[in-house]
Subunit: 305 residues, 2 copies
């Protein structure tokens, strides 16, 4: 079980020489997800050598250009590369029509299936689940309909306590799957060996929450409680609370307050406004509220084993 988050872009508004709009590549429990896809994302994917063809699921938070203008080009490129696997795209209602129309007019003859999952609920909902990972929405509050996403590893089976098991020669390898599944074992003598004695707790499932773009919204705290890694936007420093309110973005103090209240292990901030030349101020300011803060930067990977 492991989690690797690579920042592909983490700046707000418009692409500039050293500013790349939002996109993240998440590897969690051997699943590979793309989160948001601003203009230039496919080039950033190449640059930072993330698994271009491993992605089968793309999650778009909202339909502002800096979070999805790279999607059409990326899908078109998959078509040019003769992709055959289906691609699932999650995002607000409207994403399907706009994307397909643009692909149609550019005569992109992609042969793979694009399966759009259009979201409209304002409640957190389970939108993806397999044997490795589940994904829930985190309803956010921005100028347009927006979701964050919570990625959680599935709980693994209990681990065999081989030292204790070896004390019972009667227990056979054939029993191991039952033991991992949490069952007690009854010996021929009728003695019941409790599962607790035969197993150890499995590793705790890892989790990552992506929250961008949003104003300060404390009611997301229960949804993201105790996550291992939280990306929360911090477009402004505290000096521009007024602008944050007006544009429905967060300050670094607010991002840190969410991290603190949700008791997360680590906070990553990003989506910096272009007005700030020194982004280290975002970390410094957030650290006045929450201790474990890192800055999103293009190409940076956050890993948890």
């Amino acid at each position: 079980m492991s989690l690797n988050l690579t920042i592909l872009g983490c700046h707000s508004a418009t692409p500039r020489i050293n500013a790349f709009p939002t996109s993240q590549y998440l590897e969690i429990n051997n699943r590979h997800f793309l989160i948001d896809c601003g203009e230039g994302t496919q080039r950033q994917m190449r640059k930072y050598k993330v698994g271009f063809s491993k992605i089968d699921h793309i999650f778009i938070s909202h339909l502002h250009g800096d979070h999805f203008y790279g999607l059409v080009g990326l899908l078109s490129t998959y078509g040019i590369l003769s992709r055959e696997k289906e691609m699932h795209i999650f995002g607000p209602v409207g994403i399907k029509k706009a994307t397909l129309q643009m692909l149609k007019i550019s005569e992109s003859h992609a042969k793979f299936n694009m399966i759009f999952h259009e979201l409209s609920s304002t409640e957190s909902e389970l939108i993806f689940e397999d044997d490795k990972v589940s994904v829930r929405t985190i309803p956010l509050k921005h100028r347009v309909y927006t979701n964050g996403y919570l990625f959680t590893e599935k709980e693994k089976p209990r681990k065999l306590n081989m030292l204790n098991i070896s004390g019972y020669p009667e227990i056979d390898k054939a029993d191991y799957n039952n033991i991992k599944a949490g069952r007690d074992i009854t010996l021929a003598s009728g003695e019941i060996i409790s599962n607790k004695e035969l197993t150890m707790n499995p590793p705790k499932p890892l989790s990552f929450a992506f929250c961008s773009d949003t104003c300060y919204k404390p009611d997301i705290v229960p949804i993201i409680k105790n996550v291992d890694l939280l990306y929360h936007e911090a477009t402004f420093l505290d000096d521009r609370q007024d602008l944050a309110k007006k544009t429905r973005h967060s300050t670094s103090i607010e991002a840190a307050q969410i991290a603190k209240d949700a008791d997360v292990k680590q906070l990553v901030v990003g989506h910096y406004s272009g007005r700030y030349k020194d982004i280290s101020l975002f970390k410094k300011e957030a650290e006045t509220v929450f201790s474990n803060v890192e800055l999103a930067e293009p190409g940076k990977t956050f890993s948890i084993d």
Copy 2:
């Protein structure tokens, strides 16, 4: 009178680490035009410091993604930057609907007028003209409806031959505009001084032809005859004539043949297929047919005074 062409991107198909889809910035006789707009163009414009806000006219050759997927993001950025001047966009039928729908869904509240000039003619037509420059289409042949564009400076008034004029004290400054306009002057004595004696030829108007994407199409030669600068796509070398035919692209030999037949001053080739690692081969091969060939490369500027 001057002409400066800056290559923003010149590679075919998909954006990669060192491959940027087609876009060019043309400054001609104090007019500023953007030609094609692949994904990432706005970042290239920043990188190469071309006049971002000077552009009032964008010319899109065809609707393949590598020639126009950057347009929506660029227009959106102009909106974010509070542009007020109107923007004229020339391109194939369909460009307006696709662009406006994408801008609408992303709630881009651009306040400036976007005036779309949708093209559908298969004959060369005059599509723009002011006191400085005229622009004509160059009908090309590709897998989809495509136009190249011919940019020509307007002819300047004749230049005064001050040495000869000073020989006629009777000629007044008030006559100068008439003389520049090509008129003869009648002195009080009745003697007619021919304009030829009083003026010199104005500088020859400069011209640039953009031809991409297209298969070898010799019937464009009369349209682009004698241009100062010709950009002609050369997606393949001669070794892959088969692929050029199939995908309706040109080889470097074919681009050079067009340049030779049109008797242009200089040929710039580009739109290289990603299969070729050494693009200098395009120049070498073209030079077997036409002597003055240069390679398009991102950030390179071709200047004519």
